[in-house]
């Protein structure tokens, strides 16, 4: 035991990364034969499980204080790994989602070719995600973030068609833009604060002038692209329908959360830096955080609304779920905004955002897996063409029901807890902050109702009603995918029945270490009674409103209204513009190039003349 303890204390991140790297090196050498393939899949799952267990094991250590490791001499400044409660829970959660999705890949990927490259990049994404969550300084964070973007791109385009690669191009360009924006933020910050650790960045934050808004804006844009924040969410509905559903579950489940984690980490480090500072600095920090927080709240609200309205219009299952991902991440972003806005009293927003990220990962993952199972059997993506599948696929129907109830926030399912906490958070924002935020609360309720309506539509169209002729002979298959869905459904129920468990073990200790106001935490968060009448009545209002929206929509065919083709912001609009600008751009460039090539002496003479005249100006 002692050896393990010292080993863990010395080099845990290295151990985790090395185990992953060994697996990566092993994968290409396992050939294509049946037995070797199964061996490879099994090793992938075992590795993920192993690393997750290691992470769980160090929980009591991290509970005391965050663990740090310095690895010097690489990149000129050394890499720092830092695991505290915030990252630890995300890492365990990441391990969990990766494990469950790897179980489900038996359904999706087993038949498709090129398994080697898929699992290779799967493991690479896993390692880079863990690395991103473990990183203690901005430089290594950025490195792992970029690796994660590139390897998830390869996963997304695994289907290798012409359209898939074009959609993937959108994903990777957005990803690179996000990465560059984060790099700009890091550069601006480190140029002014001369170092790169998350912990100390906050210290100087208060002393900076307006430059901190620029840097915060760059960070929020960069992480927002990853998290699917509007108006930068365009890549989500473009790439999700084209990728495998396991990859969608992965992306929605954990990769988008890394974006949210980034913004959360930024806000939390700024708050943490106020320790031991004098009042003036603390004031400056809280004021700037308020401004940033207000903007983030409204960005979150816009995201929620855009996501859910677009989701209501969709016919294809996967696109609808993609838009719902955007919308739910809007909830999370709004929660983070509240945490920033209220500063030290923002523990409720922090808890809500954190909790909802975890819950959303689980139920959205389950929804994608369910859609995957349905698609695998029926080969149909349009929900209006399906129906009555509860007879043919009872198991899938049950887990689908659990997931839909979770996302809409039914009590006894995990979504209820996080949505309630978020609701409390937004209420506090308009009670303790600007009263104009009460509209934010109304919109929050409206969006929850629309979510309910949308899932009523999905569930009733796909599973209830009468079955079309061609699906009547379907038989359900029980394989690893069903086990995966079952695990997730069970976790949903457990968290739903015992919501305070997660709060007490992870979120509240995290909030305590992150310098939120103790009094606030003790009074409002500890032992929060989630099943009180106020919240339950809220839920009833939401469901009633949802039912109303659903019936009205179905009656008057509102769900088929699309914006006219000219205003449609989908890729039907972007693509012709891309093509036309591409062609005219090429023409202009070739014209300019010819001009420049054929008039060398003219350019030389003119440049010389211009330079000398400009220099002469100095006298």
């Amino acid at each position: 035991m002692n050896i393990t303890r010292t080993m863990i204390e010395v080099a845990l991140p290295i151990i985790l990364l090395t185990i992953g790297l060994l697996e990566i090196l092993l994968i290409p050498f396992l050939g294509e034969r049946q037995k070797k393939r199964r061996f490879r899949r099994v090793t992938v799952r075992i590795v993920i499980l192993l690393t997750t267990l290691i992470m769980i094991v160090i929980y009591p250590e991290v509970l005391n204080q965050p663990m740090e490791w310095h690895i010097a001499n690489i990149f000129g400044n050394g890499i720092i790994f830092r695991i505290d409660l915030l990252s630890l829970l995300f890492m365990i959660f990441a391990g969990f989602i990766f494990f469950v999705v790897s179980l489900h890949t038996a359904v999706d990927i087993k038949g498709c070719g090129r398994e080697r490259s898929f699992y290779l990049f799967f493991m690479l994404t896993y390692i880079s995600t863990i690395g991103t969550l473990m990183a203690g300084d901005l430089l290594s964070f950025f490195m792992f973030f970029e690796i994660m973007t590139f390897s998830s791109f390869v996963l997304m385009v695994h289907q290798r068609g012409q359209k898939v690669i074009e959609a993937g191009a959108t994903y990777i360009y957005f990803g690179i833009l996000g990465g560059l924006s984060i790099l700009a933020g890091i550069l601006v910050l480190s140029a002014f604060t001369q170092n790169y650790e998350w912990v100390t960045l906050g210290e100087k934050f208060g002393e900076l002038g307006n430059i901190k808004y620029v840097s915060a804006a760059l960070f929020i844009i960069g992480f927002g692209i990853k998290a699917g924040m509007a108006p930068l969410h365009h890549w989500v509905p473009v790439i999700y329908p084209k990728a495998h559903l396991s990859v969608n579950a992965l992306s929605s489940g954990i990769l988008m959360k890394v974006g949210g984690y980034g913004i959360l980490r930024l806000i939390v480090s700024v708050l943490a830096s106020t320790e031991g500072q004098n009042d003036v600095v603390v004031n400056a920090i809280t004021v700037s955080l308020e401004d940033i927080g207000a903007i983030v709240i409204w960005l979150g609200i816009i995201t929620m609304v855009v996501g859910v309205i677009s989701a209501l219009e969709q016919e294809k299952m996967v696109r609808m779920l993609a838009y719902h991902s955007v919308s739910q991440m809007g909830y999370v972003i709004m929660g983070i905004g509240v945490a920033a806005y209220l500063g030290f009293d923002g523990a409720m927003g922090f808890a809500g955002a954190f909790y909802h990220m975890i819950n959303h990962g689980i139920f959205k993952g389950l929804l994608f897996l369910m859609a995957g199972a349905v698609f695998f059997k029926t080969k149909e993506k349009n929900m209006y063409k399906l129906g009555g599948l509860y007879k043919q696929m009872p198991y899938v129907a049950t887990v689908g029901l659990i997931a839909s109830l979770a996302i809409t926030g039914m009590p006894l399912f995990n979504g209820y807890a996080s949505k309630t906490i978020l609701h409390h958070a937004i209420e506090e924002a308009h009670i303790y902050g600007h009263p104009g935020l009460v509209w934010a609360e109304y919109i929050f309720t409206f969006v929850s109702a629309c979510t309910a309506a949308s899932f009523i539509k999905l569930y009733s169209r796909v599973f209830l009603g009468s079955t079309p002729k061609k699906y009547q002979h379907l038989k359900e298959e029980y394989n690893l995918g069903t086990i995966a869905m079952g695990i997730m459904a069970t976790v949903i129920l457990i968290i739903g029945l015992f919501p305070n468990a997660l709060l007490n073990h992870f979120i509240i200790p995290a909030a305590r270490t992150l310098h939120f106001d103790e009094y606030f935490i003790d009074n409002y968060l500890v032992g929060m009674e989630l099943f009180n009448s106020y919240d339950l009545t809220n839920m009833i209002i939401v469901y009633a409103l949802g039912m109303l929206i659903y019936t009205v929509g179905m009656k008057f065919n509102l769900f088929h209204i699309h914006l006219p083709k000219q205003l449609d912001l989908e890729s039907d609009y972007y693509t012709p513009i891309y093509q036309k600008t591409g062609r005219s751009f090429n023409r202009y460039v070739h014209a300019i190039e010819n001009f420049i090539s054929k008039s060398d002496v003219f350019i030389y003479g003119s440049m010389l003349l211009v330079l000398i005249l400009m220099l002469l100006n100095f006298l």
Partner: protein, 493 residues
């Protein structure tokens, strides 16, 4: 005392071997290759020993003929010159190792010996330019470099190659003459040809003859600008670098252009000094042209379909980065620019060598037709991907570290808006490099493209260049420490 003669030993070794090559009578074969690499290996050892001498000792100056500085020719051996020489020799070993097999497809076999003569003479001129401390000596080496670098393009006897090399030669000649005019103007007012002595005099002279110095710097900047491919004067570069044989393209893009940039840096910081540079405002004008290079180079690259032309325009953009660092006028900017000189040399060589391998293997130069090559040529595409990742600026490659240092230098120098330009240019780089990588790995090969299989020597040399780029990316402090020590002597002396 023997340790101080290293610059001369290296130069004379290269020159001596260059003139011995034409005496070989036998057809081009293994014995010659062995001889060539033993000479290069010896040069490498000498350069490495020199670097160690300078790092653990101090910078020194070496006068020819035991005359003092003002009368004789002087070589100033400081840390960066030693490092740059080592980089030049290392890269030339790798590129020449690549070229032994590659040139069989590109030039006539009777001209192989001439090619290597020219390459050695070119290396002689580059190393001379790096070391020299005398402006007329600099001019001599510039002329030698002009001619030999044109010759290694023109040795491939195709129509577009000949036209491109003609254009390069003429524009280079205009550049040399302009530079000479600038040097003459400086000599006129200061009376010295030695850079350190000019620097000592320049401050008094500046008050008396300001217009003269301005004109001189204007001429020198334009002249060297033509050869170093600053934006409006870069038009010879795409034709020349894309139609040349692959090892020549790599040598030109990686080493020759950098030698001229380094000469501009020497003129700006060692001859007329940092103060006057900033006072005149040369730094600001270089910044303008640098930004134009960075953006326009990438924009032009977007619409090219020939892969080598795309790489050549990308060179224009990357040289814009180096000028950005120079134009900031601060120590940090100069260090970042010098770091990028070395990291770009490795990355661009890797890219050109792998592009050349693709052309060797498939006979196809069109970017749109490179689907699925990644599975047929994994090592080549891996090296290409490393180069691409470096150009975009992914951490772990040397390109990221140079963008990092440049970003910090830009913010330190008080031009934060240029940070946006750097990142925009990185994004444009991604726009035209990533589709090549994506289509190589993620699409299916339409038909059999195999023309001739890749020899081992080519693969190994490419892989080493790519590896070098990654190593610099992980341990940039090795090089950055040397550069920072050099910058203080550079600006001080």
């Amino acid at each position: 005392m023997i340790s101080y003669h290293f610059p001369v030993f290296i130069l004379m070794l290269l020159l001596g071997f260059a003139v011995v090559i034409p005496l070989h009578r036998k057809p081009f074969g293994k014995s010659f290759v062995v001889k060539m690499f033993s000479v290069l290996g010896l040069a490498f050892i000498l350069a490495f020993a020199e670097l160690l001498v300078v790092i653990y000792g101090e910078a020194y100056s070496y006068t020819f003929g035991s005359y003092q500085g003002g009368i004789g020719i002087e070589f100033l051996v400081d840390e960066f010159s030693a490092l740059m020489t080592l980089v030049v020799i290392t890269l030339s070993i790798l590129i020449l190792a690549y070229s032994v097999k590659d040139l069989e497809h590109e030039i006539a076999s009777s001209k192989m010996y001439s090619y290597y003569t020219l390459v050695f003479l070119m290396l002689f001129s580059i190393i001379g330019m790096i070391f020299t401390n005398d402006i007329f000596n600099l001019y001599v080496f510039v002329e030698a470099l002009s001619i030999t670098s044109v010759a290694i393009i023109a040795i491939k006897n195709k129509k577009d190659t000949l036209m491109a090399s003609m254009k390069y030669l003429l524009m280079g000649a205009i550049g040399s003459v302009t530079v000479l005019m600038g040097f003459a103007l400086i000599y006129m007012v200061t009376g010295h040809l030695n850079m350190s002595l000019i620097f000592a005099e320049i401050n008094e002279v500046w008050e008396q003859y300001p217009i003269n110095i301005l004109l001189a710097m204007g001429f020198i900047l334009t002249g060297f600008g033509i050869k170093a491919a600053i934006f409006p004067l870069h038009n010879w570069l795409p034709d020349a670098h894309s139609s040349a044989p692959t090892p020549s393209s790599a040598l030109l893009s990686g080493l020759v252009v950098k030698a001229y940039v380094f000469s501009i840096a020497k003129m700006m910081y060692r001859v007329i000094g940092q103060e006057i540079t900033i006072n005149i405002g040369i730094s600001d004008y270089i910044l303008v042209f640098a930004v134009l290079s960075m953006v326009m180079g990438s924009l032009f690259a977007l619409s090219q379909t020939d892969i080598k032309r795309r790489l050549a325009y990308s060179s224009v953009a990357q040289i814009g980065y180096i000028f950005l660092g120079l134009g900031l006028g601060t120590e940090l900017g100069l260090s970042a620019a010098l770091f990028h000189v070395i990291s770009h040399a490795f990355m661009k060589s890797a890219l050109f060598l792998s592009a050349g391998s693709i052309i060797y293997y498939t006979g196809n130069r069109n970017v749109r037709k490179m689907d699925g090559i990644g599975y047929k040529m994994p090592i080549t595409m891996a090296v290409f991907t490393i180069g691409v990742l470096g150009m975009i600026g992914i951490p772990g490659t040397s390109g990221f570290m140079s963008k990092w240092y440049l970003g910090l230098a830009v913010l330190d120098g008080g031009h934060p808006e240029l940070l946006i330009v750097i990142l925009l240019s990185s994004f444009l780089n991604a726009l035209y490099y990533l589709p090549v990588v994506v289509s190589a790995f993620l699409r299916e090969t339409p038909l059999e493209m195999h023309r001739s299989s890749l020899p081992q020597s080519m693969k190994i040399s490419m892989a080493v260049v790519g590896l070098g780029s990654v190593v610099i990316g992980f341990y940039p402090s090795m090089i950055m420490n040397i550069i920072e020590a050099a910058v203080s002597t550079f600006i001080g002396i």
